[in-house]
């Protein structure tokens, strides 16, 4: 596959995946660390944070579409109100910003929930010991919380990696991969080639490459995360 179009879509896909991983994972860990540990706050936080995960994906796209429209949506109205020239249907930069914001909105909670549950399963004894040793909160995070969370974090990372490669419904409903081709990710391109132009041969080849890219990335990540334990 030497076609430029495929390379472009792949490049966009990788950039998108990298961006959302860089935003969602630290944000998710940060929120999980700062969430209340007991009392009514836990319930409120958990229930509210889980809400975006539960909305079917086609609805997510449709609601963000309206939510971000400059003339009738809250987000578009607000951003224009503070002086940005915001228009996600025409400006590629804002289209990107919207798709990334939508994904962060949709999936950061997944990282939060996993990390929070992982954090809660650290026995209190660890914290008490570290307190006696006079560890700073950074040291507690680096040497106790992070290693204990590693498993959960691996799952969260891999899940986000795979799902971000599969992202189709949301950007498609949002603005059909446009303006132009600026938010056409791999899966959207694939469907365009396969069903739009009915080039089934190239589309099949693309999907095989696509699958191997995901497989390779996951394998590398998995091996890296698990390396310490096998040694």
């Amino acid at each position: 596959m030497r076609s430029e179009r495929f390379h472009d879509a792949l490049g966009r896909q990788l950039l998108f995946t990298l961006l959302i991983l860089l935003i969602e994972v630290p944000l998710g860990v940060g929120i999980a660390l700062t969430m209340p540990r007991q009392g009514i706050g836990v319930t409120i936080c958990l229930v509210l944070m889980a809400l975006p995960l539960l909305i079917p994906w086609n609805v997510v796209g449709a609601m963000w579409n309206i939510f971000a429209l400059p003339d009738i949506g809250l987000l578009g109205k607000m951003l224009n109100g503070v002086g940005f020239d915001y228009n996600f249907t025409q400006n590629p930069f804002w289209a990107w910003a919207t798709v990334v914001a939508m994904d962060v909105w949709h999936w950061t909670s997944l990282v939060v929930l996993l990390c929070y549950a992982g954090l809660r399963s650290i026995p209190d004894a660890y914290y008490q010991t570290s307190k006696i040793d006079g560890a700073t909160s950074w040291q507690v995070f680096r040497y106790i919380q992070l290693p204990k969370m590693k498993r959960v974090l691996t799952i969260a990372l891999l899940l986000r990696l795979m799902d971000s490669f599969m992202i189709y419904t949301e950007p498609f409903v949002l603005n059909g991969g446009g303006p132009g081709n600026s938010t056409t990710f791999l899966s959207i391109d694939l469907v365009k080639v396969a069903l739009g132009q009915f080039d089934l041969g190239p589309a099949a080849a693309m999907s095989i490459i696509y699958f191997f890219v995901v497989l390779l990335l996951c394998w590398v990540l998995y091996t890296l995360m698990m390396r310490d334990e096998t040694n």
Partner: protein, 266 residues
């Protein structure tokens, strides 16, 4: 410092709530008002969208169908994943790491790839258009997920817990149900929630494998797209209602997630 730690989740929740508020807001408007003007709250407050959903059986049966297969799927996934995850976390056998990773590759291919094989298979054995068909097909991506999450939590439990229990004279089933399951309750809660969630929002397989009798809600929703454009009011009302069952699930498992892990059980 105390103030800052409260601020981060609060800001985040506000960020989460804005689009959801907009969704709820839209659900009380008529489609014309949504598209016609910018209003922070509905000018012509209407519950008509909800009335449509609750009086039209094709709409509310969508919810019932979805809930049924999602529940079946969550139960199957957990029952299969618990022993599997235990084996992966406690025993070493030939190729265990590879098998473990291979499980996850099932999740990597988009569900669209499996739609046609499933369709043919289920048509051949007469499972087409039944709840169990959708539930089983969703196991494809939920079981690997559940195994991975549970394995993570099980490996967090020290092996000494197993050993002390055996010394205390517990048999394996006794140990597994009385000690081990409570110890990883947080993991089970999370896994159950994620199974529920991924099965709940999955549209393509559910749509392909059903025709009339068990049409899921997400498929029913696509009806709002007609030649006249989106029926946005109705779509948002339906969207708002899809959040409700999941919110109940997370409400019930919240204690397991937040419970933490009791090391000193003896």
């Amino acid at each position: 410092m105390k103030k800052i730690t409260w601020l981060i989740p609060t800001v985040y929740i506000v960020f989460l709530m804005m689009p959801i508020y907009w969704l709820v807001n839209m659900s009380f408007k008529t489609t014309n008002e949504i598209l016609g003007s910018f209003t922070l709250w509905p000018n012509n407050f209407t519950v008509e969208n909800y009335v449509t959903i609750f009086t039209d059986p094709t709409w509310f049966m969508g919810y019932v169908n979805s809930l049924t297969y999602v529940t079946i799927n969550t139960i199957i996934s957990l029952l299969v994943a618990l022993p599997a995850a235990y084996a992966f976390s406690r025993y070493r056998f030939l190729g265990d790491k590879h098998l473990f990773f291979w499980l996850l590759t099932n999740r990597m291919a988009p569900p669209a790839v499996f739609a046609l094989p499933f369709f043919q298979l289920y048509s051949a054995i007469g499972l087409f258009d039944t709840h169990i068909a959708v539930a089983l097909s969703h196991c494809l991506f939920n079981i690997p997920l559940a195994v991975w999450i549970l394995e993570g939590f099980m490996s967090g439990v020290p092996k000494e817990l197993d050993e002390t229990a055996y010394i205390d004279g517990y048999s394996f089933p006794q140990f597994f149900f009385k000690i081990f399951i409570p110890a990883i309750a947080a993991g089970i809660g999370v896994a159950a929630f994620f199974c529920f969630m991924f099965s709940w929002v999955e549209l393509l397989l559910a749509k392909t494998l059903t025709a009339v009798d068990v049409k899921p809600i997400a498929a029913t929703m696509t009806r709002t797209v007609s030649t006249a454009g989106y029926e946005l009011g109705l779509l948002s009302a339906a969207g708002t209602l899809t959040i409700v069952p999941g919110a109940f699930v997370i409400y019930f498992v919240r204690n397991y997630i937040a419970k933490g892990f009791a090391l000193g059980r003896l």
